[in-house]
Amino acid sequence: MSRIAKAFDHGKAFIGFLTGGDPTMEKSEEFLLEMARAGADLIEIGIPFSDPIAEGPVIQAANVRALSAGATTDRIFELARRVRNKTDIPLVFLTYLNPVFIYGADRFFARCEEIGIDGIIVPDMPFEEKGEISRTAADHGVDIISLIAPTSEHRIANIASEATGFLYIVSSMGVTGVRSEIKTDLRSILKVVKENTDIPAAVGFGINTPEQAAEISGYADGVIVGSAIVRLVAQYGEEAGPHIYEYVRQMKDAIRDK
């Protein structure tokens, strides 16, 4: 069983996101490990990009902080290696296609394999364009995590049937960011997903309270939280560690036994 599959085999999964290198490489390592220690089941590490078109203001600002502090793809690989040396938690990169394309897909995924990165999420790579990296990623044992949006409709079946790792169900229209209310009919989307694949499906975009997490994990296999965690880094800077631990622990508690 893959590390990603294991993350979903003992109840609902909590997936936490942080932008790599925010606010510094050292602190970023500490924060990622805090998430693991607090009970996160899977960790997404953002490789910062200058123009993250799918991100709202909170994660945009994290990208700027990380790049200003000198984050590069190579340094994020080193960060991921240090995290991997200390924990067996599944690690998934989130980045845009250009950093991967410029690094060279083969070189990029060879490094992922060598370090032990389990998957990759690319928000600007829809189903039609995944041929750009899918074979190379598969050759190196890295799952491409596909996204399904509230507007996907008849595309859901195709995306789900070819999905690997887990499916990322986008809860809302627009960009990432904390939302007070999620209006999309996620149950109907998940029903079509489940008719087409056995791999787990987690919901992200906008989730920030334990109540939201509990409700959504009532019907999804996991919840993904990004902006609400990144916001703690914006708020507390280098002192964010304990706050991240406390927040992730609370969120994980909320979805336990769902």
Binding site: F49, S50, D51, I53, A54, G56, P57, Q60, L67, T72, T73, D74, L97, N98, P99, V100, F101, I102, Y103, P123, D124, M125, P126, F127, E128, E129, G131, E132, S146, L147, I148, A149, P150, T151, S152, E153, R155, I159, V170, M173, G174, V175
Partner: protein
């Protein structure tokens, strides 16, 4: 691999949230492209409202002064709203209306596309919101007010470098938040398929007219056709119907800012590398890790780190040449055209005039050049004065 490829370039690299809308747009466009009543309506708007066909003007005085090839100017600056942007915007806004959309959104650099979009929205009764880099709203304050007069809401974009690329980012973000009633009226031959094709088709009216006009005036094809290139819409427009005429040299003039040996330029073909950004594979100014580079040009309309995918392909196959032109050369050409022909052109277009000045004298007098004068220069007068150290009250 998806549709909309120009060689290896193009494609549809966008968030899943937009995919169905983009597919829907392509289907709608393919239908209306072949719909005689849509085409008749668009033709009427271009003629009666935008003022087409635009003139192909023989610049006799400049021709004599340069002493070489005959210079013709394709006067897109004389269109309603003062640039070629109206050609595309009337097409897309009409398409939006046919698709049942009630709201259009757009990015703008210099403000020409924003003004054109706001104009079409006013005419066709559509709600309109424009995203413009904060730096550009400062550089082009008059155009901001112009858009507001036309009933549009202008959002200054404060993310990133606060210029055109960031305005595109923010417009895409807005579109992912609200697709049902909204069409993104993209201003150049860039972005995900079908935009490069749609914008090129709507702009190709420029070369359809220019080809007929030059044949009538000269009895033969021109030797050179040239235009400035940011994203590349006026260049694609004036190139398109000349592409099969292999004896016609096509030249795109990129913004070299302070010079391509400095880090202050926007010369994508000269200095960029292949990449994937803003929905397309093409050439981009970027660093060794693929971070999109901050670019610079005196011209807000050319201040973009990428180039349309069809241009990237024309470059790859050697069908078109792309040359860098500095701020200083463009400003000199701006002043030269004003003095010589009594035409104040956009600083964007002045990049093409500048390169024309370099090549025309060494050409024969029986040869001819068409320069696309993409826009008029009223918007740039204050900036040129600042560049020359002249203090004026606006």
């Amino acid at each position: 691999m998806a549709k909309g490829r120009y060689g290896v370039h193009g494609g549809q690299y966008i968030p899943e949230t937009l995919m169905n809308e983009i597919i829907h747009l392509e289907e709608a466009y393919e239908f209306y492209k072949n719909d005689p009543s849509f085409q008749a309506e668009l033709h009427q708007l271009l003629r009666d409202y935008a003022g087409r066909p635009s003139l192909l003007y023989y610049a006799e005085k400049m021709t004599k002064d340069l002493g070489g090839a005959k210079i013709y100017l394709k006067r897109e600056d004389l269109n309603h709203t003062g640039s070629h942007k109206i050609n595309n915007v009337l097409g897309q806004a009409l398409l939006a209306k046919k698709m049942g959309k009630t709201r259009i959104i757009a990015e703008t650099g210099a403000g020409q596309h924003g003004v054109a979009t706001a104009t079409a929205a006013a005419l066709l009764g559509l709600e309109c919101e424009i995203f413009m880099g904060k730096e550009d709203t400062d550089r082009q304050a008059l155009n901001v007010y112009r858009m507001e007069l036309l009933g549009a809401k202008v959002h200054p974009v404060t993310s990133g470098t606060m210029t055109l690329k960031d305005a595109v980012n923010e417009t895409m973000r807005e579109w992912t938040a609200r697709v049902n009633d909204t069409l993104y009226v993209l201003g150049s031959v860039m972005g995900p398929h079908p935009f490069p094709m749609i914008v090129r088709d709507f702009q190709s009216v420029i070369s359809r007219e220019a080809r007929e006009q030059i044949l009538e005036a000269e009895g033969k094809l021109p030797d050179v056709v040239m235009a400035c290139v940011g994203g590349g819409s006026n260049a694609m427009g004036i190139f398109y119907h000349f592409i099969p005429d292999e004896q016609v040299r096509l030249i795109g003039c990129e913004a070299a800012g302070h010079g391509i040996h400095t880090d202050k330029h926007a010369a994508t073909i000269a200095k960029g590398k292949p990449g994937i950004f803003h929905g397309m594979k093409s050439y981009f100014c970027q660093d060794e890790y693929g971070q999109i580079a901050p670019v610079y040009s005196i011209s807000a309309g050319l201040d973009y780190p990428g180039i349309g995918p069809e241009h990237a392909h024309l470059h790859d196959i050697g069908r078109a040449e792309y040359v860098p032109v500095t701020d200083e050369e463009a400003v000199e050409a701006f002043e030269y055209l004003a003095r010589t022909e009594g035409i104040i052109c956009a600083i964007e277009s002045a990049h093409a005039v500048a390169h024309m000045k370099k090549i025309a004298p060494s050409m024969r007098q029986d040869q001819s050049i068409i320069v696309c004068l993409s826009g008029r220069g009223d918007k740039d007068v204050a900036a040129i004065a600042r560049y020359r150290g002249v203090k004026i009250d606006e």
